[in-house]
Symmetry: C2
Subunit: 509 residues, 2 copies
């Protein structure tokens, strides 16, 4: 259906192009994209083959070098920001537009989340095109042999393909479309592509601080995260912060027969369950006193934007196969609150390997999502104070025998540094210009979200620069981001190219 609409649009575009100047940017970019689908998918595929995950520093470096080459080839001045151990923290590129009075920085990250290859249906770094979202019936597609236009419901599967390599590929294709159609950008263009976002953006703050004049701009556009669940293009004005924690609860020094010792030797899996149930209730509400003390209230304008969001709850429940949501709020209101997520838990064995034994420990991997104005330090303090008050002895290393014997309940906490949330003002001239340009590219008003649930280290930009920070996602919400079988829906890539082209050529304030 969508395919037919696109072909119709092409015919209309071709017809209208008799008078080139009358053709709007949206049509010109669509026409360009349609003529270059295979090349654009090819560039994204090549990028996805590069193993840009924290566990593979060589893969991160190779990706940086490929991106530098792509920018140089397009005439950008390029440099690497902070290079330790051969791995740049970020790639920077700059292209002046003669006469432009504004400068926009386009941010995205090229590193991906860790992978557990056994959970994937195909190699995370050998991208595969499939007919649609992954089901038993989803056939692979040999897109290289297919005749464009491709079915826009096709999806490309691979780690980081949508988070965020699609944003980078869309930016490059949009720039190429402008050049091919002799469309002059309306702003000076800078790009900042980070290689450590999924590993906590360890060096980004320093990179921004050390390169203030290089990065000086009137606007930061952050190309991370998915569009709205209705598949409508979206602009959002902030993101929750994040902080991860690994908690290890200790049982006996060796696994013990649970018949002989069950009821007497403390069971670490049960202790871990207690610990989790102490910290959050069944509705996801965090029960740690003080945890939410500093949470900034939603403004009336933000509340109005939340009220305007298209309803998606019922559709998502069907899509996810869930019979309830946590709490009674709609999704947008839920993600305005802090969250405590259990990412995983491991203790003993299950299934055929399960033995009747008390395990030696239980490991819980969790993360907190922070909202303005919580700080990682305050979150850590409130969690540790709470656990201490509940009788947990907190250690940071594997406890020795003396420590074990002294403490009735031991938990080893390993925190990452984490970072806070950010919610930008939705009423600045730059904000209005971005919404206008993105809406023009989409052919309808975009969805506007005050703050995304996922995390982007926006605070780092706000710490150094006064310019507005606005987020411009392009990928599908059902992209399996952070999980196995991450994928990108082609229509989102095409829409994203439109959006990026408009933000480069039609942004005026």
């Amino acid at each position: 259906m969508q395919c037919i609409i696109r072909i119709t649009a092409l015919i209309l575009t071709a017809f209208v192009s008799l008078s080139a100047h009358a053709v709007d940017l949206r049509s010109k970019v669509q026409q360009y994209t349609l003529a270059h689908e295979a090349a654009i998918v090819g560039e994204l595929t090549a990028l996805t083959r590069l193993k840009s995950v924290a566990a593979d520093p060589a893969g991160i470096a190779a990706t940086a070098h490929a991106l530098e080459a792509a920018l140089k080839q397009r005439g950008f001045e390029v440099s690497e920001l902070i290079t330790g151990m051969g791995t740049p923290a970020a790639v920077f590129g700059s292209l002046k537009t003669p006469g432009a009075k504004r400068t926009a920085v386009f941010y995205a990250h090229y590193d991906g989340q860790p992978v557990t290859p056994s959970q994937w249906s195909s190699d995370p770094f050998d991208p595969v095109m499939r007919e649609h979202a992954l089901t038993d019936a989803a056939r692979d597609v040999d897109w290289k042999k297919a005749t464009p236009p491709f079915d826009p419901e096709w999806r490309l599967f691979g780690r980081a393909v949508s988070d965020d390599k699609a944003s980078i590929a869309a930016f490059l294709a949009a720039y190429d479309a402008l050049k091919a159609t002799h469309t002059r950008p309306s702003v000076n263009i800078k790009v900042l592509w980070e290689g450590e976002e999924e590993a906590g953006s360890t060096h980004l703050a320093k990179a921004l601080h050390d390169n203030q004049s290089l990065l000086a701009a009137d606007l930061f556009l952050i190309g991370d995260g998915p569009v709205h669940q209705t598949r409508r293009p979206m602009v959002y004005f902030g993101a929750r912060g994040v902080m991860s924690l690994e908690a290890t609860v200790y049982g006996p020094l060796r696994a013990l027969h649970d018949g002989h010792y069950g009821n007497w030797v403390p069971n670490p899996a049960a202790m871990a369950a207690t610990l989790i149930a102490q910290m959050r209730d069944d509705n996801g509400k965090i029960t740690i006193p003080g945890f939410s003390d500093s949470v900034r209230a939603i403004t009336p304008a933000e509340q109005a934007a939340l009220n305007d969001l298209p309803p998606v709850g019922d559709a998502l429940k069907r899509e996810f196969g869930i019979g309830r949501s946590e709490g009674s709020e709609e999704l947008p209101a839920s993600i305005m609150r802090p969250a405590l997520n259990i990412r995983g838990i491991r203790s003993g064995q299950v299934g055929d390997s399960a033995a009747n034994a008390i395990p030696v420990n239980a490991v819980i991997s969790l993360d907190f999502r922070l909202v303005p104005d919580q700080t990682p330090a305050a979150v850590r303090a409130s969690v540790e104070h709470f656990l201490s008050a509940h009788g947990w002895s907190i250690v940071s290393e594997e406890p020795d025998l003396a420590t074990r014997l002294k403490a009735p309940r031991i938990v080893r906490l390993v925190w990452d540094a984490g970072y806070p949330a950010l919610r930008s003002d939705m009423s600045t001239p730059a904000a209005k210009a971005v919404i206008a340009a993105a809406s023009k590219a989409a052919g309808a008003k975009v969805v506007v979200l005050p703050m995304a649930g996922g995390s982007v280290p926006l605070y780092m930009f706000a710490d150094v620069f006064a310019a507005p920070i606005i987020c411009l996602p392009i990928v599908n919400h059902d992209n399996n981001q952070h999980a196995a079988n991450e994928n990108l829906r082609l229509q989102n890539l095409w829409d994203g190219i439109n959006t990026y082209a408009a933000l480069m050529a039609e942004l005026n304030w």
Copy 2:
């Protein structure tokens, strides 16, 4: 130290043996054992090499055939009880003693718990001798090249080596000792060696029922479980029942970014924690209403036996590296109560593989330990009623989409059949005779425990036979039974041979 004592005992024995008839059975058996240490360890090692675990039916069958050969070679009449798919449920052997008025059945099992080889320090089925319990400093010992007597603190490592192949090896060696010393048994001897105990004794009840005359006896002696933690020989009069359960809690159909959906999509790991915390408190007390309704009270005689047990709590806490026990009771009182043990839990990922995602499910493996007069059916009913009352929809198969959408909280329960507990009368003439014979073999009064915490399907014997059922363990308590690096301390094997010899030759009532 213990080695010196044994050598002294040997010298004394050698001295006293000038008058053969004056030498008591204990000394004769000790002397025999000392002269045959390598052969006895060799027989146990050969048995341990046979992979008698449920996952390997051929290994189970091979072990059965080896045991049949060992019995036949000693003059026993041998048969297999119930043979399905080539794997016997049990091996039976019988040897009449002319003139004996009593018959004792010696039970043990030759199958072992499942193994997770990656957790073992050596191949579970290629037994290794070490100097002592497993520590970084515990060196391997090449016992085949060592000159006996072996250090009695040496330990042999392998799956099932102590649970229960040591009982079988001790029985065979004890029988050989009686024969070598021309000591006539005092009872007719029957053996029943099971091959499915760790897999739930699926066919034992039928085997007993179908072979009532073959197995007719005045006493059943069960050679399973460890001796007391003080390392003193022990007799016990029952065992808790057991019932295992795998509970799978369902989250979204695919793993979801926990930033975008955390606080709204239910997290199955957190739900699993809630489920566990609902069923048991931090002290191991089961909080399921009705669960303990039918628990039979401890009798004054049983309470007196519990009071007589040597205290072990402080020593065990040091040994296990735990700073508390669950609840305020001593270990023996704790194991007189039912227990809910978490054997393992799995959800999402931890460590370097952890991604910021809401997992698709959480799997909890658990078992219940039952006490008289609980039944598996009543336990299952009370658990399922409790979970339903707490809003859980119970399913027995992977739920389809319609089921998922209807139910806010879904848990899939997979129960095994389980079996009830048994506590025998400690005051029968047979009971007194067993305590007396075992005490004589030990050279001091044995420890008497009313019921062990671990499970043995004693109820199956009680269902068919009226004869007393008494348990006669020999292995060390710190044998890593049911866990990785299961092991047998040699002194326990030597003591066990004494005990078995006494039970065959000095049992009179």
